[in-house]
Each structure stands twice: as structure tokens, then as C-alpha cells.
């Protein structure tokens, strides 16, 4: 009353040019907004008086600052006081609302628990939905964190870099290096505390029980220093041990030392036979030693004097440790200078490539990063949908509690206090959901670990995958944020009711609180839209996967088995001996029962083994925008027939192609297309790599996929096994794979293969025998996992959305029962009522789908790198997804809609 009596005068006075100093308009506004109506005038007057006095005393600027501060503090005090304590009540009962935050919390938690126990179905559904969202997020987060974010298992791992060659024109980074380049880098660079070249190797352990083929790493001295590791027993490689002749030393991993040497503490200094040569054991690596390829032993990478000068054969990888305080960029800069100098000095070999310096993690993680981030994004969307879902549940529940809330506010409950209590309930739900989610995550991580494709095993952190403090912490944070996310809006909406109206409505038992209803609709629209985004993502990946598995590898993989047989250089010291070994094995296999064909090759498809060399054509310069390079394949006579590679022109290798015969080669169709697009290549003479050796092209065979079904086929040059090929070093012929085509399975093939090898050389172990189908399946395994996970997420999303749609429509129908009854009493038909409800719900679904389409298009563009022969805007996928979602939505809506159509007007009207 006071405010109305004086309000008008006060307002006038704001405008009047009082002879004193009028308050600044901003301050007036603050007071208007922040103070209760009856306090505005006297407090405004006090401030005006102060202000005028200060202007006289301290000047206008200081006075302005002081009055602003004063106004803000007073407004804040009133706002805070009112929101925390509500409207002050008379003394009686005042102390009931006093009490600390913790008392309130205890009260709220107790109340929340009672509320949830009273509605167990609601609690169970909400906890289950949250558990799905939080559990899936925790599981995916644990993988992403382990692979992308957690520190590498090395001391100061951020100083370690992967060094390699970049070939910008071919779009390659961090490719393998030629030995001569590496030694120049190591000599000239100043940024690195250690630098080491390495390649993967495998060695046959003999003389100690069963011969065994062991995975190893050949590395120049400095490898352990670069990783920051020193052997707890024994010593690291000495600098001269990278010279051929001084290299017969070996470092055992802790695992191998325990497994094959019984943890013998006096092992250092003893001798052991690898590949038929005695090696001195100089040390044992610490048990925490980790390297992606999981080598079991480390030997020096020792090249002979010739191989050390190779500049065109690229087969080394390298790592380095930056000196403390130097950044990757500084290391990169220095290496670029060295690279440019080498390009100028050796234009023939080095013109097309520069150096690349990558943080080791980036090099190890490589292509996996985008896929993991897409999964993390997708699973976050699932959580958002789960939040929206629980929020709609809470909103529906809040309307049933309108009466309770209205009464509490009418007796002076502060709005903030009510919001706090409702938020406590949300957080309680979120924490329960988070707990259940953790159980789900534990199970999911175990399952994931079992289904992780082999490629993932090489990623950092995969070994330690599981629930650790970081993952638990993230789950807790996600749970709390989730609780706030789905709790705040319903709490604010529910508490924002004019007490009187809500009371009346509650008594009448009608009305769907306007803002609550709109918010619920918006949440369901969002759910539909996000589900569509996920469905489109899953659909595009699925289409890509179908396209890939539809790609023919160019040969017949069924009933094809392959195994690598690596011969020790001690006993097979020249080309002829090695060839004779493989030939003898092939002959034995051919006569074995059930084996249809057998062959040997240096690089079977999908094996990961490959090389590339410069290609020259006699008397001709090839004009090409691409570097003129081809992939060499050393193959035995029956190779094409064994794999089922079609001959397109000329002939395949036969017994004419002996060691002493004229050098010949067969090329694939890609080579023809690229280098002989308009002429017949048969009879042309080509040379691969260095030293030059001219070979006549005698045949053209069909393209086969080598790296993967989704990879382009590169030009390939096949050379007959008996004819010596030195450009890749003499070791090439000692590491061939045997390929057999059988009528049996892997169980029947394995003994035959082992017997054939043992029949020729009983000291020779055989590697793992793999069906070609498995190798191909493994090559698409990461894609399969992506498709699988994204599909699961999309299904969960659709299920949640359907539940959300159903819930909202069921609620709306229940709220409108009386109205529907009236309509029917006035002559509306059940079909009309059905149409009414369907139109309303259909509007929600269609709006969601429309918004989702736009979102899906944006999401699909993030997926581009994962797609194969599918455009990010593939209409068929979008169409199919919209149809699926529309059908699901229709079913979810039909149930409540048909219930509405069955409303009995008499019953509806009587009940109301």
C-alpha cells in the first residue's frame, strides 16, 4: 500500500530535475530490480542524500563509484536474503527455517529418499536410463582417456617424438626412412638428446628346448635412452654395436627372461642362439618396458657398410628424445633445415620428401583419433538424450506435486529452498544412476577389451584399460553434471507457479502447467532430433561397412592360409639356399593330402608387409604427377594360381624363370593404367630400386587389395623367386610367407604346414597360421567396432526417445481426458479424437526430425574420414533413418492415442 501511495511520486521524482544531484539511472534500475517495493523509496532517498553529499566532498567520479557500490550491495543483500530465507515470518517458527546448509541437505536427502521409495517404478526407470547414459560414457571415456590423453608409460613422454619422412605430394607423413638419411640426421641435429632408428624383426630361438619364433625390435643404440629407460640388470647397447660384426648382443624383456630363462639372475653374460648365431645376453629390460609392437627382445640394428649408404630404400623407423626445454616445433624446424640440405645434396633420392617430427603419441594413435572422438561425441549425445528423458519424467512428476509445492510456497517456503530440495532429489537419482552406470561400465569395458581389434592392441594405454581414479572421477563429475542438467529446468519450472493458481488447478485436477508443458515438448523434440543424428551417423558407417565388405580383394580368400617362415641368416647365407628351402617346402606341401596349391611370397596381401621402390622404364621417362614408384613382390612359380589372381595378358611365371634365365617381371593392372595407359607393356624393360637390374615384362595380372579393402591399389611388380633381387637387401628372400589353398580348415592345415617345414629343416619354427579370411576381417575390424558401437548407441537413443514420446503423449492424454470426454459427448468420433492426438504428437516428431536432419548433416561431416563410398549427405541413408524414426515414433504415439480414442465420455465427465 505504501508503495502504491508513494510509488507514483517517486517515479515522477526520478525524472524531475531536482535541484540536488539525481541518482544515476542505472542505480535507480538496480534498486527497482533488487529491492522489495516498500523499501525502494526510503533506501533510494538515503542513497540520494549520500550521493549529493559525496559529490560535494569527493567529486563526481568518486561519488558515482561509491553510490553504485552501495546500491549493488544493498540490492544483493535483499535478493540473497529473500531467496535464502523466503519472506520473513513472525518470530514464531522462524528458527524452524534457520539451520545450516548441512541440516538442510540432510533433510532434503532424507525427503528425497522417501519420495523415491514411494515411487519405485519412477525411480527404477530414471536410474536405468541414467545408468545407460553414464555407463556408456564411462566405458568410452576410459578408452579415449587411455589412448588419447593419459601420459605415455615413459619418463617425460612428451619429449619423445617419432621421426620420419613426409611426402607431401603423396599425402604421407611420418613414412619410413632410408639408412643414409637417418645417419645424416643423427650426425647433424643438435635438438635431440637421443635418436634411434629401428625396425620390427623376429628371431628364432633355438638350442633351449622347443624352437620358438620371437617378436623383436632391432634398434640402433640410443633407443632406450630416447624412451628414458635403462636396464635394471646389465647394460644398454654400446655405440659400436650398431656396426655389423659387433652386433651379436641381445636385451631380453622381463617377460621373456621369466618365461624362457626362468628368471635366472645370472643370465647377463650368457650366450643364447638366435637364428643359428650365438648372441650374448647383455641385460634384461625393466618390467614396465612397453612398446606398441610388444617385442620380446631387443637387438642392435646393425647394417653392413653397403646398407648404411642406402638412400633410396626406405625401411627404418626412428624416434628421438628432445633435449629438455626444447619444443616439438623447435625440433621440427631443425629437422626441416637438415631435410632441405639433404634434398639439395641428393636430388635424385631426396627431392620429393621432407622430414616429419611428430609427438610420439600422435604417431602411435594415428588414424584412431577421429574414430574415438566420434564415438565419444556419439555417447555424449546418448547421455544428453538420457538427461532429456529423465527431465521429462521429472516434469511430469513435478506436476503431480504441484499441490505440495504450492502449499510450501504459500506458507513462506523460499523458492531457492524448494529448488535446492528438488535438485537434491535429482542429484540423488544421478548418483544412483552413476553407481549403476559404473557397474555397466565395468562390464562394458571387459566386453570392449575382448572385442578390441588387433590394431588397437598397439595403442598406448590399452593394457591398463579399466576403472581407475580418473575414470571414476569422470563418472562422478558426469553424474553430478547430469543431475544438474536434468534437474534444474524441472525444478525451476515447478517452483515458478503462482501459489494461488497452482492451488486452484491442483484442486480442480486439470491443466498442464504452461511452461512445464512447453518444456516437456521441447525436450522430446530434442530427443527425436538427437536420435536422428545418431541414427544417421550409424547408418552412414553401416553403409560404408557394407560397401567395404562388398569390395572384392581381387583374389579368392576362402580356403587360403598363410604363415611366415623366416630363415636364420647363419644357415641360409645366400639366395640360392633360401630359395631351395622354400621350393622344397612348397613341393612337400603340394603332395600333402588336402592341399590344392602352395606358393611363397615376400608380401602376402593383408599381412602389413610392404615396400616401395623407384621404378624406371628403359629408354623412356615417365611423365606422371605422382612419384614413379612401385611395390616389389617376390613370388614363387604358382603364386597367382594359388591366390586366384587372374592373368590379364602375357604369361605367369613358370620353370623358364630360373636364377640364370633372363630377368622377368609381371605387373598389375594399376601399373599399366598409371605408366602404360596407351601402350602394351609386354616386352618393355623396367628396373626397381637400386642397384638397377633390368627385367622384361612378360605378363599383366589383375589388381589385388594389399593394405586393406578400402585402400587404393598401387602399382605392383612381381618378380620370380629364383632370380636374385638385391634392392631391398639380401634379407628379403629369407623372410617369405608360405600360402596354401586347401580343401580343409585351419586345424587340418597347421600340422601339414609344420610337417612340411620340419621335413626340410627341423630347426625351423613356423609362425602363426592365419586364414586369409581372418586377415581381411581383421583389416576391417576397427570399422566393424565403430559401426557396432555407434549402432548400439543409436538403438539406445531411439529406445529412450520412443519412451520419451510415449511418456509425454500418455501424460497429455491423461491430462486431457475430460476435454476429450466433452468433445466426444458433443459428437466427436473416435477417429477424430485419434487424429487430434496424432496431429499433436506428429507435430512434435516432425519438428524433431526436421531439426535432427540439419544436425545430422553437420555430424556426418565430422564422419567423412570414416566413410567409404558413401557421401556424408547420402539421401538413401537419411531417408531410411527418417522412415525408421517415423515408424518408431508412430508406434510410441499410437498407444496413448488409441487410448484417447477409447475414452468413454460418461466415465471421463463423471470422474472430473
Amino acid at each position: 500500500m505504501r508503495s502504491s501511495r508513494y510509488g507514483a511520486g517517486w517515479r515522477r521524482s526520478l525524472r524531475s530535475p531536482a535541484d540536488r544531484e539525481p541518482l544515476p539511472a542505472g542505480v535507480e534500475w538496480v534498486l527497482r530490480v533488487g529491492l522489495p517495493a516498500d523499501q525502494r523509496e526510503p533506501i533510494g532517498g538515503d542513497l540520494a542524500e549520500d550521493y549529493a553529499a559525496r559529490v560535494q566532498r569527493d567529486g563526481r567520479v568518486r561519488a558515482l563509484a561509491a553510490v553504485w557500490l552501495q546500491a549493488l550491495r544493498v540490492a544483493w543483500r535483499f535478493t540473497w536474503d529473500r531467496s535464502m530465507h523466503g519472506r520473513p515470518l513472525p518470530p514464531i517458527g522462524d528458527e524452524i527455517r534457520r539451520g545450516s546448509f548441512w541440516d538442510a541437505l540432510r533433510q532434503d536427502v532424507g525427503f528425497g529418499v522417501r519420495m523415491l521409495r514411494r515411487q519405485p517404478a519412477f525411480a527404477a526407470v530414471a536410474v536405468l536410463v541414467l545408468a545407460l547414459g553414464i555407463g556408456a560414457n564411462t566405458a568410452i571415456f576410459s578408452v579415449v582417456d587411455a589412448v588419447l590423453w593419459r601420459a605415455l608409460p615413459f619418463t617425460r613422454g612428451d619429449e619423445i617424438v617419432a621421426l620420419g619422412e613426409a611426402r607431401p605430394r603423396e599425402g604421407r607423413v611420418n613414412g619410413p626412412i632410408a639408412p643414409a638419411d637417418f645417419f645424416d640426421w643423427r650426425r647433424d641435429s643438435r635438438s635431440f638428446a637421443a635418436m634411434s632408428a629401428y625396425y620390427e624383426t623376429a628371431m628364432n630361438l633355438t638350442g633351449r628346448g622347443e624352437p620358438e619364433r620371437l617378436r623383436g625390435l632391432a634398434a640402433t643404440p640410443g633407443f632406450l635412452a630416447a624412451l628414458g629407460i635403462s636396464p635394471p640388470a646389465g647394460r644398454d647397447f654400446a655405440p659400436d654395436e650398431e656396426m655389423y660384426g659387433h652386433h651379436r648382443v641381445v636385451l631380453l624383456t622381463d617377460g621373456l627372461w621369466r618365461r624362457r630363462f626362468g628368471g635366472d639372475s645370472s643370465i647377463v653374460g650368457k650366450s643364447v642362439t638366435f637364428d643359428g648365431n650365438p648372441y650374448e645376453i647383455i641385460g634384461v629390460l625393466p618390467s614396465r618396458f612397453w612398446w606398441p609392437t610388444r617385442p620380446e627382445l631387443l637387438v642392435p640394428l646393425a647394417l653392413d657398410d653397403h646398407d648404411r649408404t642406402l638412400r633410396a630404400a626406405h625401411f627404418l623407423n626412428a624416434i628421438g628424445r628432445l633435449k629438455p626445454g626444447l619444443s616439438v616445433a623447435q625440433g621440427r624446424e631443425e629437422m626441416a633445415i637438415i631435410g632441405r640440405r639433404l634434398s639439395a645434396a641428393f636430388p635424385a633420392e631426396n627431392a620429393n620428401h621432407t622430414t616429419s617430427v611428430l609427438p610420439l603419441r600422435d604417431a602411435l594413435v594415428g588414424d584412431t583419433r577421429p574414430a574415438l572422438l566420434v564415438l565419444l561425441g556419439a555417447v555424449a549425445l546418448v547421455l544428453v538424450i538420457a538427461c532429456a528423458n529423465v527431465a521429462t519424467l521429472l516434469l511430469a512428476r513435478a506436476t503431480t506435486r504441484q499441490k505440495e509445492l504450492a502449499i510450501r510456497m504459500a506458507v513462506g517456503g523460499a523458492r531457492m529452498r524448494l529448488v535446492q530440495q528438488m535438485l537434491t532429489e535429482s542429484l540423488l537419482l544421478a548418483i544412483l544412476g552413476g553407481g549403476a552406470g559404473l557397474l555397466l561400465a565395468t562390464w562394458s569395458i571387459e566386453t570392449l577389451r575382448r572385442f578390441l581389434p588387433a590394431q588397437f592392441a598397439a595403442l598406448p594405454g590399452i593394457d591398463g584399460l579399466g576403472l581407475d581414479a580418473r575414470v571414476l572421477g569422470s563418472a562422478l563429475v558426469v553424474s553430478l553434471c547430469t543431475g544438474l542438467a536434468f534437474g534444474v529446468a524441472p525444478a525451476l519450472v515447478a517452483s515458478d507457479q503462482r501459489a494461488g493458481r497452482a492451488l486452484n488447478d491442483a484442486v480442480r485436477g486439470s491443466s498442464d502447467g504452461g511452461r512445464g508443458g512447453r518444456l516437456r515438448t521441447a525436450l522430446v523434440v530434442a530427443e527425436v532430433a538427437l536420435s536422428l543424428v545418431l541414427l544417421v551417423g550409424a547408418g552412414l558407417l553401416m553403409a560404408s561397412f557394407w560397401n567395404i565388405t562388398d569390395v572384392s580383394p581381387g583374389f579368392r580368400p576362402a580356403q587360403l592360409f598363410t604363415t611366415r617362415v623366416t630363415l636364420p641368416s647363419a644357415r641360409y647365407d645366400d639366395h640360392a639356399k633360401a630359395v631351395a628351402f622354400y621350393q622344397a617346402v612348397i613341393d612337400r606341401l603340394r603332395s600333402a593330402p588336402g592341399i590344392e596349391r602352395a606358393a611363397a611370397t615376400s608380401a602376402p596381401p593383408f599381412s602389413g608387409v610392404d615396400a616401395r621402390l623407384n621404378l624406371e622404364v628403359k629408354d623412356r621417362t615417365i611423365e606422371s604427377q605422382f612419384p614413379v614408384r612401385a611395390h616389389p613382390r617376390l613370388v614363387s612359380e604358382d603364386y597367382f594360381q594359388t591366390l586366384g589372381i587372374p592373368l590379364m595378358r602375357g604369361r605367369v611365371f613358370d620353370n623358364r624363370d630360373r636364377a640364370e634365365g633372363p630377368a622377368v617381371a609381371i605387373i598389375n593392372q594399376s601399373a599399366v593404367r598409371r605408366f602404360w595407359p596407351d601402350r602394351n607393356p609386354l616386352g618393355e624393360r623396367i628396373s626397381l630400386g637400386d642397384p638397377p637390374r633390368w627385367m622384361e615384362i612378360v605378363g599383366v595380372v589383375g589388381d589385388i587389395k594389399h593394405e586393406g579393402l578400402d585402400a587404393e591399389v598401387a602399382p605392383e611388380v612381381y618378380m620370380p623367386l629364383p632370380q636374385e633381387f638385391a634392392a631391398l637387401g639380401a634379407g628379403l628372400v629369407r623372410g617369405l610367407s608360405v600360402v596354401v589353398r586347401t580343401s580343409g580348415d585351419v586345424v587340418s592345415v597347421a600340422p601339414l604346414l609344420r610337417a612340411a617345414v620340419a621335413g626340410v629343416d627341423d630347426q625351423q619354427p613356423v609362425g602363426m597360421i592365419r586364414p586369409m579370411d581372418d586377415l581381411i576381417a581383421q583389416s576391417v575390424a576397427p570399422r566393424r567396432l565403430n559401426v557396432l558401437l555407434l549402432s548400439v548407441f543409436a538403438l539406445v537413443a531411439v529406445a529412450l526417445t520412443a519412451a520419451g514420446l510415449y511418456g509425454v503423449m500418455a501424460y497429455v492424454v491423461a491430462q486431457r481426458t475430460r476435454e476429450i470426454g466433452v468433445r466426444m459427448a458433443l459428437g466427436a468420433t473416435p477417429a477424430g479424437i485419434l487424429g487430434l492426438v496424432l496431429r499433436q504428437a506428429g507435430g512434435v516428431a516432425v519438428t524433431g526430425i526436421a531439426i535432427g536432419l540439419a544436425g545430422a548433416y553437420l555430424f556426418a561431416r565430422l564422419l567423412t574420414s570414416l566413410l567409404f563410398q558413401v557421401s556424408a549427405s547420402e539421401p538413401a541413408v537419411y531417408g531410411a533413418v527418417c522412415a525408421v524414426l517415423a515408424v518408431v515414433a508412430f508406434v510410441a504415439i499410437m498407444i496413448p492415442a488409441s487410448r484417447a480414442a477409447r475414452v468413454d465420455p460418461l466415465v471421463a465427465l463423471r470422474d472430473s
Partner: protein, 108 residues
């Protein structure tokens, strides 16, 4: 439960200051009086809030004076104590005096 039990220390201070000021008790004067007697630096906000709450609780009565040009045409709000406040002050004084009795030597 006695009414005096609800009186906080700061509430007592404010009530006493109003009593001392007599007919001239408005927020700024109350703040100055407390500062003069106790040396306490107070924020204006806490004075306003306390006055507001004491009035709601029924300890104070307020009236608006005529607007003055010095205040930009705004009225002053003057406060006076209701009898219940006098009772409450007496009660808390009695309680304090009782507690003080016999402690003069220890706290001198």
C-alpha cells in the same frame, strides 16, 4: 520459549540504537549511532536488512515522513520500537546481567 530468545546480538544493537535516537531513527542515523557508540564499521545493507526483518517480526513500527528535495523527492522511513521490543531488550539485558554477576573481578 520466550520472545527474547529470538533476539540476535546485532538485532539488540540495532534496537538500542533506535531507542537512543528517539524520533530521529532512520537507517543512516542508526548506522551512524552504532558506529559512534561501538566503533563498528557496518554495511548499509546489513542495517536495511535487519530493520526490515525486525519490522516483519513485529519489533518495529515504521512511518514514512514527507518527501524532501534533498532526497530527490523521496520520503525517509523512521522507525520506533514496539512494546514487545522493549520487553525483549529488558529480557536480554536481565539475562546478560545475570551472567555477568560475579565475573567483574575476572573480566575487569
Amino acid at each position: 520459549m520466550t520472545v527474547a530468545a529470538a533476539l540476535g546480538e546485532f538485532e539488540q544493537v540495532v534496537l538500542l540504537a533506535i531507542l537512543r535516537l528517539g524520533d530521529d531513527a532512520y537507517a543512516v542515523a542508526v548506522q551512524n549511532e552504532i558506529q559512534r557508540c561501538t566503533g563498528r564499521e557496518l554495511s548499509r545493507g546489513s542495517i536495511y536488512i535487519t530493520l526490515d526483518r525486525l519490522e516483519t517480526k513485529g519489533y518495529l513500527r515504521s512511518r514514512l515522513a514527507d518527501p524532501t528535495p534533498e532526497r530527490g523527492g523521496r520520503a525517509k522511513r523512521y522507525y520506533t520500537l514496539r512494546p514487545v521490543a522493549i520487553e525483549a531488550l529488558k529480557e536480554s539485558r536481565r539475562a546478560l546481567v545475570a551472567l555477568w554477576r560475579g565475573l567483574e573481578t575476572k573480566l575487569a
